[in-house]
């Protein structure tokens, strides 16, 4: 077990190295000369050269990469070209809305999608199954911002049940915070729900064929207990894996959802950074999201033993 954990953690190092190399190269090949930008319009070529040397920009690629990785290890992601604030500070200011959105979406999506998939597998071939599958195809096809606008139009503009846009910090109370997040969370979660419902149904169909389900039925276990205790527990590993993999969808979707609902989070930060070509910020956000994604999937891998005691490392 311990050896496996160590191996699995070590295995993420090359992955993170590739991500870091890619993100670093992004800035390296980015058009525009940071030294010239810092030197300003009045600078002579000599001034620019001096600044370039003082920043270490004249050093070879790999040396600069090493220095950059070292900076990251110390928690220094560079300084925004546009606002002159450290990227870490900018990320800290924007992280709460994005984190809230993701957590609410995750909880909402899993608590809707898993029962949907279980019911579809239980009632396979009936209208309920077809409805769930139909919804799944729709969820894969309708882009996040379309769902977002549709929900905002119906529930915020026409029915006036919920706020149209914006974000209220959690510190101002749970209800206003949640009211602002519910529509974005459903919009962002639609693909995710489709995905989880589909994999839940597929895995449950397989598990329900197993002998131990027949045994459970024979000993008189009730339908809910068979579905949720005997079957779902054994279907947990693929479902949880997909929940982890699907986080990538949430991250990509958050960028768009935050634009639609005017949520001042990391997604908005990314979009603004792109429009201003603020490369250090883009770098920082991409690096952070990728790191979180790898970490979540690492943790899920390590948690498999909890869901399925048959797995031994």
């Amino acid at each position: 077990m311990f050896a496996y954990v160590v191996r699995r953690i070590l295995a993420t190092i090359p992955v993170m190295a590739v991500v870091a190399l890619f993100v670093f190269s992004l800035l390296y090949v980015a058009p525009g000369d940071p030294a010239a930008v810092i030197a300003g319009d009045q600078a002579t070529p000599d001034d620019v050269e001096r600044i370039r040397q003082s920043l270490g920009l004249d050093r070879p690629y790999l040396v600069r990469f090493g220095a950059w990785v070292f900076d990251i290890m110390r928690g220094d992601l560079g300084v925004s070209i546009f606002t002159n604030l450290p990227v870490v500070t900018m990320i800290q200011q924007r992280i709460e809305p994005t984190l809230s959105l993701m957590v609410v979406t995750l909880i909402l999506a899993v608590s809707i999608a898993v029962p949907m998939g279980v019911v579809a597998a239980w009632k396979v071939g009936t209208w309920m199954d077809r409805a769930v599958m139909g919804f799944a195809v729709l969820g894969f096809s309708v882009p996040v911002f379309v769902v977002g606008y549709l929900l905002a139009y119906v529930f915020a503009l026409e029915l006036d049940w919920l706020p149209v846009q914006g974000y209220t910090p959690f510190s101002q109370g749970f209800v206003p915070w949640f009211e602002n997040l519910i529509l974005p969370a459903i919009a962002l979660g639609s693909v995710y729900i489709a995905l989880i419902a589909r994999i839940t149904r597929a895995t449950m169909l397989e598990v329900l064929q197993q002998d131990y389900i027949r045994t459970a039925r024979a000993k008189g276990a009730g339908q809910p207990s068979i579905l949720f205790l005997h079957a779902l527990k054994n279907a947990a590993v693929p479902i949880v894996t997909v929940i982890g993999i699907g986080i990538a969808l949430l991250i990509g979707g958050a960028v768009v959802t935050e634009s639609v609902f005017a949520i001042p989070g990391l997604g908005r930060l990314t979009v603004d950074a792109i429009l201003r070509r603020d490369y250090p910020v883009i770098q920082g956000v991409v690096l952070l999201f990728s790191f979180v994604y790898v970490l979540v999937n690492l943790v899920i891998d390590l948690l498999y033993t909890l869901f399925d005691p048959r797995i031994r490392y």
Partner: protein, 309 residues
């Protein structure tokens, strides 16, 4: 793990889909209809999806003939008109005819979807084959692919677009790069399982050279999964293109694309929702059709997976 359907069903673990329904002892007589209609009857997803995709392609090709006007013609005097007999989908805040823009916008979506599907398949196929056959390259290539896959695809495409000017070509390249790792993994998986097949062993023991084995025995078997995968990539690429354009990092605003029209309608969506509504509708229907086509092809080409997922 891909995409707003940046994620697609082909990434779902195979182990989850293997169970087959129990067969009745006596199969009912098969009512076989022949010809095109029979085929469509048996595969409604392919028929419906294919028809809609075909209609969209025809619409994109014959856009000038479909009672459209110049989609970029400005007319400030008649801006933000509601949909009417004259302006079927209304006009935007610069007075451009939304109907014409939506019809022309199909061109960008379809070109991007198709080009990315072809390019990503070709590159992914090459990388997957090399990785599946050249032992020493495998671990290096797959570590690189793992790294690229751990950057969420939309974010990767956004980051790449930040490096270049917005143009349709650059959008295609950015989305292709984001899609390639998944295709490579799929092809590599197929190659590795095919290499264990007795007929490949037989070919090897007959002294068949590796290129011939790849060409005669491996490639033909990748066609079915690749076709299905390419369809899903196409759907995913159309969504990513619209997202890139929507946030202003994709197709340049001068070219009407569904994402661009929505981006322009964004400021006004609370009062003039139709500017956002029509491109959204067309985009959703097209992506839905391509996904249906993919599901249908998967069921038709891989009977084991049929009706499972």
């Amino acid at each position: 793990m891909s995409s707003a359907s940046v994620l697609n069903p082909a990434d779902v673990p195979q182990s989850a889909i293997k169970a087959a329904a129990p067969m009745p002892d006596i199969m009912p007589p098969v009512k076989a209809r022949k010809g095109l209609w029979g085929y469509m009857y048996r595969n409604p997803s392919i028929a419906i999806g294919g028809t809609i995709v075909l209609l969209m392609v025809l619409m994109a090709i014959f856009a000038p003939l479909l009672w459209t006007v110049d989609p970029t013609a400005l007319a400030p005097a008649r801006r933000t008109r509601e949909p009417s007999a004259l302006y079927w989908f209304g006009t935007d805040m610069l007075g451009r005819d939304v109907y014409s823009r939506v019809v022309y916008g199909a061109r960008v979506s379809l070109i991007v979807g198709f080009a990315v599907a072809v390019l990503a398949s070709a590159i992914g196929l090459t990388i997957g084959l090399v990785s599946g056959f050249v032992r020493w390259a495998d671990s290096i290539v797959m570590r690189v692919m793992d790294g690229m896959m751990s950057i969420p695809p939309i974010l990767l495409a956004i980051a790449l677009m930040a490096l270049t000017r917005g143009s349709v070509g650059n959008v295609i390249i950015a989305i292709t790069i984001a899609e390639v790792p998944r295709v490579s993994r799929l092809v590599r998986g197929v190659v590795l399982s095919l290499r264990e097949q007795p007929y490949v062993d037989a070919a090897v023991s007959c002294g068949t050279r590796t290129p011939v084995i790849i060409w005669r025995h491996i490639l033909p078997n990748t066609v079915a999964p690749m076709t299905v995968q390419a369809t899903y990539i196409c759907a995913s690429a159309m969504i990513v293109e619209s997202i890139l354009s929507f946030i202003g990092a994709g197709t340049p605003p001068i070219i009407p694309s569904w994402g661009n029209i929505m981006a322009e309608g964004r400021a006004l969506w609370q009062v003039k929702p139709y500017i956002v509504f029509f491109p959204a509708l067309f985009l959703s229907i097209t992506v839905l059709a391509v996904n249906l086509l993919g599901d249908g092809l998967r069921d038709a080409l891989d009977p084991r997976m049929a009706k499972r997922i």
